[in-house]
């Protein structure tokens, strides 16, 4: 189980001092599920920092964090994704062995085949979560992705951190 006390010392101090409440969802939005899950169109959004081999990797040099995103087509072979997350704060060997650990597309394909979900969207989205200055994420890139998902008529999004 991860708590602040499990983090490396420098990260622990940073997290305890960080003004999380400044960025909180307030009010908390609520969109009730409008159709049964087995009829819903589902997309994945991850902050695991994965990208296609032909896409640029996330930029590690931006001090406040890279707020850009990568579009991942639903047809991707999951294990071919590159993981370029800059954080030294987690063990990268897990996702190296199995991308589904942070981007569970193969699991959702199985749920689609079983009829648990209606269908997968034609695209998914990846961010690199190491964003300490999230204003551009809040005002721009998260809104862009949300609007693309709405345009795709997505009903449900499943999000995973790293």
């Amino acid at each position: 189980m991860a708590t602040f006390d499990d983090l490396v010392f420098s990260h622990r101090l940073f997290m305890k001092a960080y003004p999380f409440s400044h960025y909180a969802n307030d009010p908390v939005p609520c969109t009730p599920l409008r159709k049964p899950l087995n009829e819903a169109r589902v997309a994945l959004v991850t902050s695991a920092g994965v990208n296609l081999p032909e896409q640029d990797i996330f930029d590690h040099s931006i001090k406040g964090g890279d707020t850009s995103f990568r579009e991942i087509p639903n047809t991707v072979e999951t294990q071919t994704l590159i993981e370029s997350h800059r954080s030294p704060g987690f063990d990268h060997t897990g996702i190296a062995a199995d991308r589904n650990l942070g981007f569970p597309l193969d699991r959702f394909r199985e749920l689609e085949a079983q009829g648990v979900i209606g269908e997968l969207n034609h695209r998914h989205f990846s961010f690199m979560g190491s964003i300490v200055m999230p204003r551009k994420l809040i005002d721009e890139t998260s809104v862009q992705v949300a609007q693309m998902l709405r345009k795709d008529e997505v009903d449900v999004v499943f999000l995973t951190p790293m």
């Binding site: 189980m1 991860a2 708590t3 602040f4 499990d6 983090l7 997290m15 999380f20 409440s21 960025y23 909180a24 969802n25 908390v28 939005p29 609520c30 969109t31 599920l33 899950l37 959004v45 902050s47 954080s87 704060g89 987690f90 063990d91 897990g94 996702i95 062995a97 199995d98 589904n100 650990l101 942070g102 569970p104 193969d106 699991r107 959702f108 199985e110 749920l111 648990v116 961010f127 979560g129 190491s130 964003i131 300490v132 994420l137 809040i138 998260s142 809104v143 992705v145 949300a146 609007q147 998902l149 709405r150 009903d155 449900v156 999004v157 499943f158 999000l159 995973t160 951190p161 790293m162």
Partner: protein, 81 residues
């Protein structure tokens, strides 16, 4: 900061009238950022679905996350058991 990023993304997507559910690796962060629905999992950073190459466990986490979709008493923060 991944957990904050996911919480902020979930809020933005839900504001576009899409129902979201998310995994959390740090309850301290999620309990402040308030994504609409989150499942706190007892795994280390970097292991949100539990373990690599363990589809059964990954499916358990996903199922528990999807089970939150019906909830409207947001913010929802449940613990995976």
């Amino acid at each position: 900061m991944c957990v904050q990023t996911v919480g902020l993304l979930a809020g933005a997507i839900e504001r576009e009238n899409i129902t979201t559910t998310s995994v959390s690796l740090l309850r301290e962060v999620t309990s402040i950022i308030h994504p609409p629905r989150a499942l706190f999992v007892p795994y280390p950073m970097g292991f949100p679905l539990g373990a690599p190459n363990n589809p059964a466990l990954q499916h358990q986490v996903i199922a528990a996350g999807l089970a939150l979709l019906e909830r409207t008493d947001v913010p929802v923060l449940e613990v995976f058991k």
